[in-house]
């Protein structure tokens, strides 16, 4: 196949777009998994962390004219604080948690964040300058934005940090211990409450990073949280809930399927594609493509 072949370029272009979208879903899914592993909760406000990150970054870079790096750090810290506040104020005080109650509480938090974002940032979508040049690069005939390369690089970086953190640091190992068996971890002297708080903080941080890096491309608005959260959850389930490396692969896969669906089927139904996949996975194989159904049965919902 030569480079000038139209279909090859199309396929390549869809692939790039797909991986770019998928990277965001992967990060949202990693956020879901962190909280799920430490608490067994699906945080319905996960998409809202992404929105919060994106919008805060818009304000800091566009209104306050801070440098990208400085604004990046401030934004991530801001959303981490929001995540910690959420855990301290709404999850921690619940003495008799039931699944239904916890779901509704995280929904309430998502409504509050969405409402607050609408009050502060308004209903319009916000433009943000790219990290580096906006000049598209040529890649075997397809075009690729430098911002897209930033997204790939940051996802890769996050995955490496994730692996190092959970495999080679004491705190990461403690968090994993809590995920496997909370009572046993507590007996071994791990402060499980602190680990839950940490998981909310890290999950909020990852959400914020996802929001920051995608905002220059999609132009963030306050109402995007639900859809981002839903698709991120799709990636988390597809990869096997709780399995973060599975979620990364599944997220990228979901993004690619979505991009090809939008290109070859219909762009109007693009958002529906990921959701239909989510429903099919839930109905046919709720343990995901990488999870074992055996382990699934042991988990609490």
């Amino acid at each position: 196949m030569s480079y000038s072949d139209g279909t090859f370029v199309d396929v390549l272009q869809f692939l790039i777009m797909g991986i770019q979208r998928g990277s965001i879903y992967a990060m949202v899914a990693m956020g879901f998994n962190m909280i799920y592993n430490s608490t067994g909760i699906i945080n319905f406000a996960q998409g809202e962390f992404v929105v919060l990150g994106g919008l805060m970054m818009v304000s800091l870079t566009m209104a306050f004219n801070l440098s990208i790096v400085f604004a990046f750090i401030l934004t991530v810290l801001f959303v981490i604080v929001a995540g910690i506040l959420m855990e301290r104020l709404t999850i921690n005080p619940v003495k008799e948690p039931t699944v239904l109650r916890l779901i509704i509480i995280t929904i309430a938090v998502s409504i509050i964040i969405k409402g607050a974002a609408m009050c502060f940032w308004g209903k319009g979508s916000h433009y943000m300058r790219h990290f580096s040049s906006t000049e598209p690069l040529d890649f075997y005939g397809a075009t690729i934005l430098p911002q897209t390369l930033w997204i790939f690089a940051i996802l890769l970086f996050l995955v490496v940090v994730y692996v190092i953190f959970f495999n080679y640091t004491m705190t990461g190992k403690c968090m994993r211990a809590c995920a496997i068996n909370r009572d046993a971890a507590r007996l071994a002297g791990i402060n499980d409450r602190k680990m839950v708080m940490l998981s909310f903080a890290l999950s909020a941080g990852i959400g914020a990073i996802a929001g920051i890096i995608i905002t220059p491309i999609i132009q963030m608005d306050y109402a995007r949280g639900a859809m981002l959260g839903l698709k991120g959850f799709g990636a988390a389930v597809l990869g096997g809930l709780g399995n973060s490396m599975g979620a990364v692969v599944a997220g990228v896969l979901l993004g690619i399927l979505e991009a090809f669906g939008a290109g070859y089927i219909s762009s109007h139904y693009m958002d529906a594609i990921a959701l239909v996949i989510l429903l099919f996975v839930l109905f046919i194989r709720p343990s995901g493509i990488f999870g074992s159904s055996e382990a699934m049965r042991l988990k609490e919902f």
Partner: protein, 338 residues
């Protein structure tokens, strides 16, 4: 229907009869008609959430399907509104059945996400299938309901009609709760394993209630379409499904009256807030309707944290508390007299 519930039902009927005499403003009557639609959907959702213990964040989708079936069949194919509504119910039954069987095997979070995903898909289709639904610009020329040629033209007539349907819904719900199925459902809510060991077919019961609750939502959607004479995808987005869950949760999950109170409370809240905003303006606080979402969120959060049984039970607890204090005082007073 038991003693307390009959009294409640009587109060509901009297309220329905009297309210149009007190509320003469057409705007507020319209708000109360919308409240009836929400109540109807919430009764169904309460049966599912409170009595069967299953969460659905997708009931806005069934409302949309009811509304669009009614709208399309009457406006484009000139069907009778009643037949179109019935057709909407049939379609919803089929969809709820197909969705319910695989979905209700899922528990907790998975079911919540599956129904939420379903709601988003229906909304996307309503926006994208322009030929059928009119897309974002909507569907016009939907007729009003009529009884053998007698058209429900005024808001007052529609108020009586829609609230009569709500009363009928309450009646059906209580009949269901006090039936064999209802007791089975409560057993499922208590413990699925125990219920199953007593010979209750869990999946079948859950699917039945899921379908019934979807039918409530569908009727609510059809009535909405006939009242508005126009529908667009806006009111049927995911946030409406979330709002319905909020209504049921705020009022009280485990009680039909709670769901009704929650639906009425949250449906009237925007009116109350805009009324309040005039006073806040005097105090120098510029309250805008945009803040409503924030207020909803905080109300839901506070109720879930401090009154997880909902307002209905919460009121009960508060009155009990007040009564106990009152008793203490009266006892002290009578002691003093002695």
């Amino acid at each position: 229907m038991g003693g307390k519930n009959s009294v409640g039902f009587l109060i509901l009927i009297i309220g329905i009869i009297l309210i149009p005499f007190m509320v003469t403003n057409d705007y507020y009557l319209g708000v109360l008609i919308f409240t009836a639609f929400n109540c109807l959907a919430c009764i169904g959702l309460c049966l599912l959430m409170g009595y069967a213990g299953q969460i659905s964040i997708g009931h806005g989708a069934f409302i949309a399907i009811g509304a669009y079936t009614s709208g399309i069949l009457t406006a484009k194919f000139a069907w009778s509104p009643w037949l179109a509504m019935f057709c909407g119910i049939l379609i919803v039954i089929v969809i709820a059945f197909c969705l319910g069987i695989p979905a209700l095997r899922l528990k907790g979070h998975y079911l919540a996400m599956a129904t939420l995903g379903f709601a988003s898909i229906v909304h996307i289709v309503a926006v994208a299938a322009v030929d059928l639904t009119g897309g974002p610009s909507g569907l016009v020329n939907i007729p009003r309901l009529d009884f053998f040629g007698y058209v429900l033209s005024s808001d007052k007539q529609y108020f009586y009609f829609s609230w009569s349907v709500v009363a009928l819904g309450v009646y059906i719900a209580f009949n269901l709760i006090n039936s064999r199925v209802g007791r089975g459902l409560q057993a499922i809510h208590g413990s699925e394993d125990a219920a199953s060991s007593l010979g209750i077919n869990i999946t079948s019961y859950k699917v039945q209630v899921f379908i019934l609750s979807a039918v409530f939502a569908s009727v609510s959607g059809s009535l909405y379409a006939y009242y508005m004479n126009y529908i667009d995808p806006g009111p049927f987005d995911v946030s409406h499904s979330i709002l319905l869950v909020t209504m049921v949760a705020v009022g009280g999950l485990h009680n039909i009256w709670g769901a009704l109170i929650g639906a009425v409370f949250l449906s009237l809240l925007p009116e109350f807030l805009s009324f309040l905003s005039d006073y806040l303006q005097v105090l120098g606080i510029a309250y805008q309707p945009d803040y409503d979402t924030l207020v909803y969120g905080f109300i839901l959060l506070i109720i879930m944290l401090f009154l997880p049984e909902g307002l209905f039970k919460g009121f009960g607890n508060i009155t009990q508390f007040v009564r106990s204090i009152f008793k203490k005082f009266s006892k002290r007073a009578s002691d003093r007299v002695k």
